[in-house]
Symmetry: D3
Subunit: 155 residues, 6 copies
């Protein structure tokens, strides 16, 4: 199974999805997108490092970065399914659009599976966490502990 994102930075909402997805398969690949339509706050090397700090305790999770279309990456990695999180209606519409587009691009029947975010993380997004952190707010409990340490160390 594959879970992909920009993880800019990884939040406890992402981690919750990774842990739940990892229980559903033998191997979960977590891919960090290098090329983003909007510019990233953290370079891909930092985003990958923070991801690895967050999932160090999970034995069947493999991490890497990738470029190009998610659909091509999923074909290269030969996965059966790509997992995505849903938090709110805004997410839903965007994800619906992407799932239909990817269903066309996959061709070989790769499925997009959705998990609902836990209520406790329904309001957590990388961009909001970043904005609060940049303005000096406390984001403890919103990102994994080692990730928060890393964010502070490179501030």
């Amino acid at each position: 199974m594959l879970y992909a994102g920009s993880f800019d930075p990884i939040t406890n909402g992402h981690l919750d999805l990774i842990e739940r997805s990892a229980r559903l398969c033998d191997l979960l690949i977590v891919g960090v997108t290098e090329n983003l339509s909007k510019s990233a706050r953290y370079p891909v090397a930092d985003r990958l490092r923070m991801l690895r700090l967050a999932v160090a305790h999970l034995a069947n999770v493999e991490t890497e970065s990738f470029t190009g279309l998610l659909a091509d990456y999923a074909k290269r990695r030969n996965v059966e399914a790509v997992v995505r999180g849903l938090r709110a209606t805004m997410d839903f519409e965007y994800e619906l659009q992407m799932a239909h587009m990817n269903a066309r691009l996959y061709e070989n029947g790769i499925e997009t599976l959705f998990l609902m975010s836990s209520p406790a993380y329904s309001f957590v997004s990388s961009s909001l966490v970043s904005e609060v952190f940049t303005l000096g707010g406390d984001v403890e409990g919103l990102v994994p502990g080692p990730v928060l340490e890393y964010m502070k160390s490179i501030r």
Copy 2:
């Protein structure tokens, strides 16, 4: 994996989800809910019969009816995941609520997995199909062929 619903009657949208889900697991159990909060158009025996006509070509699909909570049924059948379809924003909000409630009731980590309905079936619901059929409209292509035959035979 478990897929449950009232299937009143089963539509091509349901069948699309069953076929896609069956490719993702060894055994897909499809459960027909006997007790409905709103009254059903077809008795459970007819709903189960139509479901079976629709999935006759699928080797790893098992069908049955059940009573009580979906969460209890899922625990009894010892499944890892329950699959649900998402068509539109209205579905999303209801399913989000149910997924959170079931996450509490499952306790043992059964996951709710969501698949997006194919665009071609995004507007198809059992209640709309039934209403059109009752008023004499043509629902060919919206329900599986053998199901349409059955619906006509018991009209």
Copy 3:
């Protein structure tokens, strides 16, 4: 052009749509649905009478009741387009579903055209108006004057 509904009762929101639609075509047929999935508050004869009181000032509007599918009625009346109003997101999803279903049923290319309700009527629905009226609230300005008189006369 055709505009159909239950008009139970007709509101100023409906009238606004009728007036705007009538400016866009030579003849606007307004059809009152006799058979409703949910039971109506007013019998069809009263609903038609209230509609006629409301549109008496519009020269190119024809009113009648009909039974069966809207799609069949539109074909019988040989219209090119059916017009519908949109107030809010809830309306949108339901109307999207119906428009796709009707596109199938029309076959001959009858189009569904949507007009957005004016902001002043965005919160007005027949059911809410009825509920407020039944509980003794003031609905002046929400239904046409002669309609309000009629509602009071048959209370």
Copy 4:
């Protein structure tokens, strides 16, 4: 300030809103609607009793039942504001419609104030709690403890 509802039964989501609202004013009136458009699961006497069990610890909360329009009740009680909870988009659209209608009915400037439900209660509704309870599911933590006792005692 006034908070009204059917409380059929009161949930921990309602209680959270009552506690937060009570901190914002000198006196919070909580009104149980007697007349419901849809039939209630519990009679109004039971609904009021469960509400009182739930708010016994709140000194500045007054409870009673009422009939008729919320707008008329708010005028009778001479409140400045009516408070409502928002959980999800479905709530939002309905509440938007009601707030606009009530703004017309209040005339004297009574405001509708909205509080967002806490994430932990975003999926909790009276009807879902009731359905789960009726089917034998565990609703501990979703309704106040004494309310659950009461629900069991009159089952």
Copy 5:
């Protein structure tokens, strides 16, 4: 009738709306907006050329570019109605806002008419098509054939 957009590039979703709109009127003007709030991927000359390639088979469609407010352009061209497409809830809210604003700006009763996108094109947007194309994905079937040729020729 007038249909306007940035067409950056024109998709099969746009073309479907143009064909359906052209059947509803004597002359359909399709206007390409020169000034965009966000920067365009293709210059206006290319966008206009691609549009013309796409509608070459439609006798009653006229194409041109325009600057300034859509409302002013619609008044200049003396149209009775402006047609817009609706795909999803996100579209709906934005279009509702624009329709209300334009109703103020038109003054002379120009109407905004909405058509629902066909289910097959519900997930197709210029920006998503562009992104997929730029990353090397296959967009055949999402844009008209001659448009795809043109996009490849100027890549």
Copy 6:
């Protein structure tokens, strides 16, 4: 009570919320955010001046600009509640996310209170008003009179 925003520029929708909020408390502080995630059209000095022109008639409204997190500003000013406006579903989801985040950051129980925008202003936003004004459209009635004069004077 505190009401904060970028007011870029202040609209009649904002003013309606300020007037309604000011009736609910002894002192309403209106804060103009200096630091914006997206760049502002007007410098903060102009935005504050326009706000002051708009609220000159309100005795219990105090205006100022602020930097940093809204949550920190609310704590500094020692308010019990922050008021926000809701126009549409898009607003709702964003505001829900922010309200949950701020509930964490406030710690001391500051509440976010929401008021629904009046239907007449449901389509009015600073960005849309600005865009129309920049393209030469008439925005009279959408911003307070003195604000429109000011906008013209610094064009």
